[in-house]
């Protein structure tokens, strides 16, 4: 609304802003109005429901509605959610699985991507094709459990980390290989002439240049692993290693006699805050990373 005149000259925008003779003006004012309306309905209503319900006493929240709370008790609800939902333990558990998984996906993925991008033998191409097959193929969750039991990793964090790493490696290898192919080899050759070995070149030249993809891959893998419940159910179960989503499921499952929406939504808010915070901090990088990698 505010900066429309300044950005209009871009030829790309001319196409949609003109809709016939009477169109442009209608579109100029109608579009922002439509955007605000859509945002209010599609995002505003659910968000409002979550926020007000998380501040209501149970009696008001049993039948969820959009009314503002008559009695405000956000502090109690959030304290209850943190306490009953074992949130601190869940938070630590989530961190202990997600952070190592992301780190492994990135480090192992970068090393493999470098080789896959630079070498062109049949064997390397086959290894690349195999490694990115996880982009399409579904993980065989049932036999993963079988295998982990035999390895003694069922129900453990290392097991969960291994499963997440295996699942998301394809994504990071795919994006990073595409990116490394766009880095000119001259940079590496110059370093090689200066006497740098492969490890040094990888650490000093390739990894720093990979920063944009690393940012994106971090966010995407973090997002998936942080919210995952399906694989966590199978691998970790509901025991001491339960992550935040599993705890949320248990809080919601506890509503045997009376709905406890006020606690569920307090939980949802706290659980979502880390991801929203990460997004707000790194927004620009995430957006450019996602978009540059996808449309290649």
């Amino acid at each position: 609304m505010t900066s429309t005149p300044g950005t209009l000259p871009r030829p790309g925008t001319a196409g949609i802003s003109g809709t016939g003779a009477a169109g442009p003006r209608l579109w100029r004012y109608g579009r922002p109005a439509l955007v605000v309306l859509l945002a209010a309905l599609a995002i505003g209503v659910p968000l409002w429901l979550v926020l007000v319900t998380s501040a209501k006493p149970q009696g008001e929240a049993v039948r969820p509605n959009l009314d503002p709370p008559r009695h405000w008790q956000p502090a109690d609800n959030y304290a209850d959610a943190v306490g009953q939902g074992e949130m601190l333990r869940g938070f630590v558990n989530s961190l202990l699985v997600v952070v190592p998984s992301v780190a492994l996906v990135l480090i192992l993925g970068a090393g493999a991507a470098w080789v896959f991008a630079r070498r062109s033998s049949k064997l390397v191409s086959a290894a690349y094709a195999l490694t990115i097959s996880g982009l399409l193929l579904p993980p065989a969750v049932i036999t993963i459990v079988m295998e982990l039991r035999q390895l003694g990793l069922a129900g453990t964090r290392p097991g969960m980390i291994a499963v997440y790493t295996g699942m998301y490696l394809s994504t990071s290898v795919f994006f990073m290989t595409g990116f490394i192919r766009t880095i000119p080899t001259e940079l590496e050759e110059a370093a090689r002439i200066d006497g740098a070995g492969p490890t040094r070149i990888f650490l000093r030249i390739i990894l720093p240049l990979l920063r944009p993809v690393i940012a994106t891959a971090t966010i995407m893998v973090m997002l998936y692993a942080w919210s995952d419940i399906f694989y966590a159910f199978f691998v970790l179960g509901g025991g001491d290693g339960a992550t935040l989503p599993i705890n949320l499921y248990q809080v919601a499952g506890a509503q045997l006699y009376l709905n406890n929406w006020h606690l569920i939504f307090a939980y949802v808010v706290v659980m979502s805050l880390p991801m929203v915070a990460v997004f707000l901090v790194a927004q620009r990088k995430i957006v450019s990373g996602i978009t540059s990698g996808a449309v290649k």
Binding site: G6, A14, N65, V141, S170, I193, F230, V268
Partner: protein
């Protein structure tokens, strides 16, 4: 150091191709295979091996009731075919995936076209519509359960008494709309990138030729969005075939198993200790993805070439 430099240079002159006989090929020295080894090993051990095992265990009686695993042939498949769960899961999952991909792409493309111009207003609302992507799918499911429950917020606001999540026909559609809602922000970003990649003079030329906005969209922008479409449709289909959280949190597979997709079934049957039967369903999902997704990706890729 100097020694390394000489040796490396001797083995492979950096500007010329070809290998020297009797030496390691240049590529092997400069990009040693062991950089790729850990990734390939972890992927093989924790992704490929389970998928291979998944071709054996469905044909056994592996369950929590037997101490050891014995080969039983097609028994598990016969069981799931006879009780109707096989066909139902296939039908439900495919319907869900097709609808979810449709909604996710429809919403995403619509938002991208609405918010295409790079103004501060639009950037703010792009972030707003991206919000659902950041929230866990399980939480999204609970939010919509609270909205759509018969005692929920939507009925309260409209003064109606509609069992939104209680229809054996329409609930699966509604849940796939929720799926589309959750991921529309990601599709939007990718379509925005596609739109940005369209050269300005191409649109200019279309305008000079007298093309209106609809014609420009159909003949210039839509074909140019092909790579973005390929990516979005593929990720949406794969993602929604593997769906679990949203369905579990909104309907739990009901009513009358009308939203019971593969993963919900596996979760339920695994919980009953019938591991091999769950594994059989998992194998079916694998085969369906291979049979449907891979030709689709190839087809969409080919479509990009011809447009």
């Amino acid at each position: 150091m100097a020694d390394t430099a000489i040796r490396t240079r001797g083995a492979a002159p950096p500007t010329r191709g070809g290998k020297k006989p009797g030496r390691l090929p240049r590529a092997a020295v400069h990009h040693p295979w062991w950089f790729a080894l850990p990734a390939v090993a972890v992927f093989a051990a924790f992704f490929l091996v389970p998928n291979l095992l998944n071709f054996y265990y469905p044909f056994t009686n592996w369950s929590s009731y037997h101490p050891d695993v014995a080969f039983t042939g097609l028994d598990n498949f016969r069981t799931i075919a006879d009780d109707g769960s096989l066909l139902r899961s296939i039908r439900t999952t495919l319907l869900y995936a097709a609808l979810a991909a449709l909604f996710q792409n429809g919403f995403g493309l619509g938002l991208a076209l609405l918010l295409e111009e790079d103004s501060r207003f639009n950037r703010f609302f792009r972030a707003v519509f991206f919000l659902p992507v950041l929230i866990s799918a399980l939480a999204v499911g609970y939010v919509f359960q609270a909205l759509l429950d018969q005692d929920g917020a939507v009925n309260a606001a409209l003064g109606t008494d509609i069992p939104w999540l209680g229809s054996t026909t329409w609930t699966v559609v509604l849940v796939s709309v929720i799926h589309g809602w959750k991921w529309m922000g990601l599709a939007m970003l990718i379509y925005l990138a596609g739109l940005k990649g369209i050269p300005g003079d191409m649109l200019e030329a279309a305008k000079v030729d007298g093309a209106g906005p609809w014609r420009t969209f159909r003949s210039v922008r839509w074909p140019m969005l092909a790579p973005a479409l390929t990516f979005n449709v593929t990720t949406a289909l794969i993602g929604s075939m593997n769906t679990f959280d949203i369905v579990q949190a909104t309907t739990g597979g009901g009513p009358a198993a009308s939203t019971e997709v593969f993963n919900i079934y596996m979760f339920r049957i695994f919980g009953q200790g019938l591991y091999a039967q769950a594994s059989a369903m998992s194998l079916v999902l694998f085969l369906i993805v291979v049979v449907i997704a891979i030709p689709l990706v190839v087809g969409l890729r080919r479509r990009e070439q011809t447009l």
